[in-house]
Amino acid sequence: MNFTMPVFSVAIPDIFMLCMAAIALLVDVFLPKKKRIITFFIVQATLVITFILTVSQYIHYPSPIITFSGNYILDKLAIILKMFICVVSFFAFAYSREYVNERHIARGEYFILGLFAVLGMMVMASAYSFLSIYLGLELLSLSLYAMVALQKDSVDATEAAMKYFVMGALASGLLLYGISMVYGATGSIQMFEIGNLLVNSTPNQHMIVVLGLGFILAGLLFKFGAVPFHMWVPDVYAGAPTCMTLFIASAPKIAAFGITMRILVEAMPSVQVQWEHMLTVVAVLSMFFGNVLAIAQTNVKRMLAYSSIAHIGYMLLGIIAGPNSAEGYSAAMFYVSTYVIVAAGAFAIISILSKSGKEFEQLNDYRGLNSRNPWLAFMMLLLMFSMAGVPPTVGFFAKLGLLEALVEAHLVWLAALALLFAIIGAYYYLRMVMYMYFEEPLPGASSTPIKLAPDMMIAVSINGVAALLLGLFPSTFIDMCRISLV
């Protein structure tokens, strides 16, 4: 076996991020307690520079490059996913700063672990073999488990971390088991080779691969949090510190979309019929249970957790329609990336409202928010309508793309079903708006105006207005998603 030197230059953003994470770790140890905010700035600067490096790669590498012995790919999909991941994580950390500070969650560690999680996602975006996919996924997951557990004095957070860890480990196990089957059938773990080897597979090989596919999908859907692998989602979302929920609900979904595309579309097109069927069942169940169970929630974080399950169901629709339509995959990518922006905004509002020892996470806390802080209520309104898919917010155009792909793929019944569930879902988003705008605060609850730090206000405004502006001018963003998937 001859050894070829990998092209290190294509992995510069990842390498840079790794170095900076290590440096931040070292610096943090020597910082006095009061100055640990510096770690936060190092982490944020790293994200900004990584983003710039990735953008420059977009210009320098017009065609895909596969290197590191076939484990690593740099194509448009990887680059654009990395850009999204950096931007979303930047916002997630920016929102976290005050929340983490106020609750004395170990500050430096939080951001350093976060940076390692981002690194894991970067690896996932570029992974081109099962080995690197698993590597990235575990780097991400282990960092997230630890981050959830960082609030040591909170029983809920500890419980959530425990659940997250046990369920996550189970999912990783399923994924590995599935990978081993595919490896057994093909003798390869590299995406491109598997794809080629499976074109002319024997019936026996085919059967093992389908079985393996089942386990791999189970593992992936665990990470996404889709029905029937969703049980951990509400508990973890509700129990984790809100800024952590924000992070779990946002960037990892983009990375998970990336590896799903690699595995299903690039490695396993030969069993496409099988994974389409499996995903259809999962998507319908997710949309149904996510939307229906969200109605029963009184805790906003739990409600949004169920809503995220439903949204994952919608995103899967794009992947299902993908093989038989021109824009299915890009519609799914547009859906997941805009959902992430919107979800991050909603959790951000919860986290910045949770001040001075009071968590702002019950539906009743939102009564009369319009008279306490009209701008924040308006931002939440935009985000809620976007999740419900009401034009002119971006959520509508995300759904429009999916429906167009479904109709094109002759899955009109699925499109109608998706819309029906969207109506069920609209109810609890409307209820949220109702509490904020139509109701007065409960007797005894605080009804004074809410003042916010200016940096939080700006960040949340960017986020909320993005939900509207991306809806009014979605063309560029849609094109970005299309470029990455040609």
């Binding site: 824009e327 890009s330 319009n370 009209p374 309508f385 009401v390 034009p391 002119p392 509508f396 155009f397 429009l400 793309g401 429906l403 167009e404 109709v407 094109e408 009109v412 499109a415 109608a416 819309l419 029906l420 969207a422 109506i423 609209a426 109810y427 409307l430 209820r431 708006v433 109702m434 705008y437 139509f438 109701e439 979605p474 063309s475 849609i478 094109d479 299309r482």
Partner: protein, 509 residues
Amino acid sequence: MFSNLPLLSILIWLPVLGAVVVLLTGGDKNAKLARIIGSSVAFANLMLCIPLYLYFDSSSYALQFAENHLWIRVYQIHYAIGVDGISLAMIILTNFTGLLVILAGCEAIKVRVAQYMAAFLVMQGMMIGVFAATDAILFYVFWEGMLIPMYLSIGMWGSANRSYASIKFFLYTFLGSILMLIALLYLYNQTGTFEIQKYYGLALSSHVQELLFFAFFLAFAVKVPMFPVHTWLPDAHTEAPSGGSVVLAALMLKLGIYGFLRFSMPIVPEACEALAWFMIVLSLIAIVYIGLIAIVQTDMKKLIAYSSIAHMGFATLGCFMVYDIIRHTANYQDAYMSLEGAVVQMIAHAFGSGAMFLGVGIMADRFYNHSRLIKDYGGIATRMPVFAAFFMLFAMSNVGLPGTAGFVGEFMVIVSALQAHFWIAFVSALTLILAASYTLWMYKRVFFGPVANEHVAEFRDLTWLEITNYTLLAFGVFFLGLYPTPVLNVLHVTIGHLLTQSMPLSIVH
């Protein structure tokens, strides 16, 4: 000078921009400023309709003042707007009602004034957008986008049961629209474009036509609203602030009819012809059965809401009678009159019922607990003679007295229906009796008789702003009732063209 201006875009976006400015005035300490900005924007918008009317070429059915920009490249969605005769009339009506509602809000709304003005201005802009859009997705965006401000206005300024009514309103209309979206996507997959005009005359199998018909039917029937999907309207109307009720009655219901005219009839003419009996039956049920329901209402707003449904039954009847008429008489002139009667009925109903909703608002604002129940009132004519006179006029228009707006449309529809089918005309003519009974009986109980209680005794007559409002509306009622020619002129060519487009080949040959 106006030929180069994007007049329609200005009409759509000026109110939205105005809404942003109004919101910047902040809380209720600047309420006066918010009122001034809100009404001047609405007034400016109405003034912009003058060049729109003057420069409109009523001898052409082509889309005028057209603008077209590529909006979303992937799906070839265009920001494409333009007007023909029907949409021109509806846009002017929208601006007229918009100003009215804002002016009424200046008087009636005391809390969150800026947000109220903003909500209604955005609603006005969205509604003009619906009437102007010539791209299916743009149409849908405005169509749904309008729900957000309406939802907020019912919920924020409505009465006791407002949360329930607003959510019911939103979900009901949202549910109606989804199948339309799928129908539009299907048409896009057939033609590769979202341009509505390209869908006309498409060769679709009759099975597909029927499916599309029902998809559109659900969306538009909920908006009209037709029996049996009308149940959201009484709730929404009763709980909404009177401005919201006016917009609902005068404009939002018209969107349903407009949808039938713009989508159902020209896109799936064969299905429309085949299912015309279904639409006619539903229309007659609305006219008679809902009219009977209106009689027994104890809540004034509910009564007017049910009367709106009955009146809209006339508009749908006029639309879908055309097939029967042509089959019986082979005379396009009669069918033409039926369709035009439906459009006139749409416009006329805006004045009559809008004014009556305002009237209930005026009374309820003066009553200590904002009651809308008929039994709480009585003898108002002695305390508010000017108001009673005005209200009489609008009640008469609602009844369909010759000389008022309400007469023209109903008369045209009944007369042309008579050409095709005596009993359909007969049943629909029952409305003249029913409308008279519920409207005038309510009028009698509320305005005549002894003064009901000490609260009514304290009522003061209309303020100058309310008189201005009512004078404008009275002008509309008489204008359409006595000299409808300017309106009909605008409609003539467009409706004629629409009629030829909506005829299935089986009838033409």
